[in-house]
């Protein structure tokens, strides 16, 4: 098997509030390989977001080692973590988190701006991605002029712009109605087919049906780690037609 993209060794995260200590992650070890589509599940408060923050280099673990693309990031300083984020990671959030004063195209370009990609190059990349998520005709709109599904598609394009090793998402479909949620899920499927590695925190059963691996956390520990539904029931009708993979063209 290929080198893992993500490798966690006994990751622990402890929050201290005065005398109180809360052990949110209590020793998690796992590997994620290229092309995996991982859903992270578990009851509220079990540490999913904390885990994702560690994976996303937004937060440092209290102890343990985290290798991202072969490099130990658990000891990096703030600047190097920023660099790790803008080179290797793509983020998708539940509430889209687009920057309101920037247009669609500028939002998509933002990671490239911090990566230092020249404007002309970054613009070409962003236009191409906007087209892939079906938003070529909305390049100069502000986020608040778009529907929730459209905003999340901008966020996906933004997460892809720096060609990251892993795309991380926390409840990416949580704010969407089922129709736009489906559109987003279709895009994820297509991305995964194109070889993208994705780690998503979710409660969405539809996503569980489509992913390749489900990790369940319980009280800061790895509870279960099993193949996704499409592998568990390989014969069942998870087969997806090519049409449904394409992002539906926006009509509004």
């Amino acid at each position: 098997m290929a080198e893992p993209i993500i490798e966690l060794r006994d990751i622990r995260k402890t929050y201290r509030m005065g005398d109180m200590e809360s052990h949110v992650l209590q020793g998690i070890s796992l590997s994620i390989h290229p092309g995996e589509y991982v859903c992270m599940m578990g009851p509220s408060g079990c540490g999913k977001s904390t885990m994702l923050n560690v994976l996303g280099c937004l937060d440092q673990p209290t102890s343990g080692q985290y290798f991202l693309g072969g490099l130990d990031v658990s000891k990096l300083n703030d600047d190097d973590l920023s660099q790790a984020r803008c080179r290797n990671l793509g983020f998708i959030f539940q509430s889209y988190n687009l920057i309101q004063q920037l247009s669609v195209i500028e939002n998509i370009q933002l990671p490239l701006y911090y990566k230092g990609v020249p404007e002309s190059e970054s613009r070409a990349i962003a236009e191409n991605l906007a087209e892939q998520v079906g938003l070529s005709h909305r390049l100069y709109h502000k986020p608040n002029e778009l529907s929730g599904g459209q905003q999340q598609r901008v966020a996906i394009a933004r997460a892809l712009s720096n060609d990251p090793l892993v795309i991380l998402a926390d409840e990416a479909t949580g704010n969407l109605d089922s129709k736009s949620g489906n559109e987003i899920l279709n895009i994820f499927d297509e991305l995964n087919r194109a070889g993208k590695t994705m780690v998503f925190v979710t409660h969405d059963e539809r996503m569980v049906q489509r992913c390749s691996r489900v990790i369940r956390l319980q009280d800061g520990l790895l509870d279960r780690d099993e193949p996704g539904a499409r592998f568990a029931a390989a014969s069942s009708s998870v087969a997806i037609t090519d049409d449904s993979l394409l992002p539906t063209q926006d009509v509004c």
């Binding site: 937004l58 703030d78 600047d79 660099q83 080179r87 920057i99 920037l102 911090y114 230092g116």
Partner: protein, 443 residues
């Protein structure tokens, strides 16, 4: 992979900076009214500094110019009618009041005080000047040929009288600009004649108006030396001609009663050889005159002392102005800092997003700093425009001289940019120091 840091050169690359600036301008533009109100403190601070500098510079320029015209090597003596001379004093029981500088003073000064090259006395009397039916109250100055050099007064047309004319007691005159413009409003004065007490004087030249002794406390006899075009009309004739035609006693009606004054010299200009000697020689002259004239019917003006006084005044003015400028920019800066801190809190989530997408702390600092500097710089530009407009308007409507030195707006603008940096750094640091995870959770 993370070893080398590609940001260092990007931070200072013009393209990156330009993009950061246009993004910063966009955020400011998003809150137009707030940005404008925030910048107003700096606008008014800079405007007041530029305007006050221009007005102050203009005032001191005018004063210094006038003093310089009096001649930095000169000591100017004037006869002053003593205040207690309304009634007969001491030996003088006649109705003719005798006072002022005389040839004895001049002789003593030349003989006893070293380093004095020349003393040029002149007589000044008030008379009515006639050109055909037009007439004008003015003063007639009896002077020597050296008068223009001594008083730093340049001829605008024609020439000054020469030694020959002086020796011949010729009836020629040189008039000042304000006399020329009022007596000959439509024609060239040179070659025309002016009549005074039945004698005709040929105009041979026009001299510029006198530098006003604005800093001397009172006004010399002969009347109002008001500013600008209101300068007193003057007619300068050879000293000997004046003595011939008007004698040494001057009669006039004053509030119904007949009044006569006898003054030998109304004015005398002493030229000191070296500038650095002027002050000490002036002391000696004062001492000498003090002995000769217990009634204090004279006045000594030392232009170089006035100049130094004016320079001191200007320095004090600059200090006061500097303090006002500093305070107003401080207030402006605090205003900016206040709004930027509010803006940082308001944009916590945005900061979190940017950090998640790879912005380093220095990127966030740069972003907020660029915004404050843009704000302060725009305020500075507006302030400079306003500050240049105010003195221009004042010059135009109030006729006051204002001088805009090129460095003044440049300095005010740089200080406003510096204010932006100084007061922007703290909010920017605060934004950058935020924990990305908490910033992202912020509502």
């Amino acid at each position: 992979m993370f070893a080398k840091n590609p940001y260092l050169h990007l931070l200072i690359s013009p393209q990156h900076l330009w993009r950061s600036m246009s993004l910063g301008a966009k955020s400011l533009w998003l809150h137009k009214l707030r940005s404008l109100l925030t910048a107003l403190g700096v606008v008014f601070g800079v405007a007041s500094v530029v305007a006050m500098l221009a007005i102050g510079e203009g005032a001191s320029h005018e004063a210094q110019e006038q003093i310089r015209k009096l001649g930095s090597q000169n000591i100017i003596l004037e006869s002053v009618k003593p205040t207690d001379s309304s009634g007969p004093v001491g030996q003088s029981r006649s109705f003719v009041i005798e006072y002022g500088l005389n040839s004895k003073d001049i002789k003593q000064i030349l003989q006893t005080i070293p380093g004095i090259s020349i003393v040029v006395p002149s007589r000044i009397i008030s008379e009515v000047l006639w050109v055909e039916e037009k007439n004008l109250e003015g003063s007639i100055i009896g002077a020597l040929t050296i008068y223009p050099q001594m008083r730093n007064r340049t001829l605008i047309a024609g020439r000054f009288f020469n030694d020959l004319e002086q020796d011949n007691r010729s009836p020629v005159c040189v008039i000042n600009q304000s006399a020329a413009s009022r007596l000959f409003p439509l024609s060239t004065p040179t070659g025309k004649t002016i009549r005074v007490r039945g004698t005709y004087y040929r105009v041979i030249g026009v001299i510029e108006d006198e530098g006003q002794r604005a800093t001397t406390e009172s006004v010399s006899q002969g009347g109002g030396k008001s500013g600008g075009s209101g300068s007193l009309a003057q007619m300068i004739i050879p000293f000997a001609t004046l003595m011939d035609n008007f004698g040494d006693t001057f009669f006039r009606f004053r509030s119904g009663s007949f009044d006569a004054e006898k003054v030998e010299f109304h004015e005398a200009i002493i030229r000191v050889g070296k500038v650095e000697d002027v002050v000490s020689r002036a002391e000696a002259v004062k001492h000498l005159l003090g002995r000769n004239h217990p009634r204090e019917d004279y006045r000594v003006t030392v232009p170089i002392e006035l100049l130094r006084q004016a320079e001191r005044t200007k320095r004090i003015f600059s200090i006061v102005l500097g303090s006002i400028a500093a305070i107003s920019l401080l207030v402006g800066g605090i205003g900016i800092m206040n709004i930027m801190l509010a803006s940082v809190t308001e944009r916590t989530r945005e900061i979190g997003i940017r950090r998640a997408l790879g912005a380093k702390q220095s990127d966030i600092v740069l972003q907020f700093l660029i915004e404050t500097v843009l704000l302060a710089g725009a305020g500075g530009v507006l302030g400079v425009i306003m500050g240049l407009g105010i003195p221009l308007a004042i010059s135009h409507f109030a006729g006051v001289t204002t001088v805009i030195k090129a460095w003044a707006p440049a300095l005010a603008f740089s200080v406003s940019v510096f204010t932006g940096i100084a007061f922007g750094i703290y909010p920017a640091m605060r934004a950058a120091k935020m924990n990305p995870v908490e910033a992202l959770r912020h509502e």
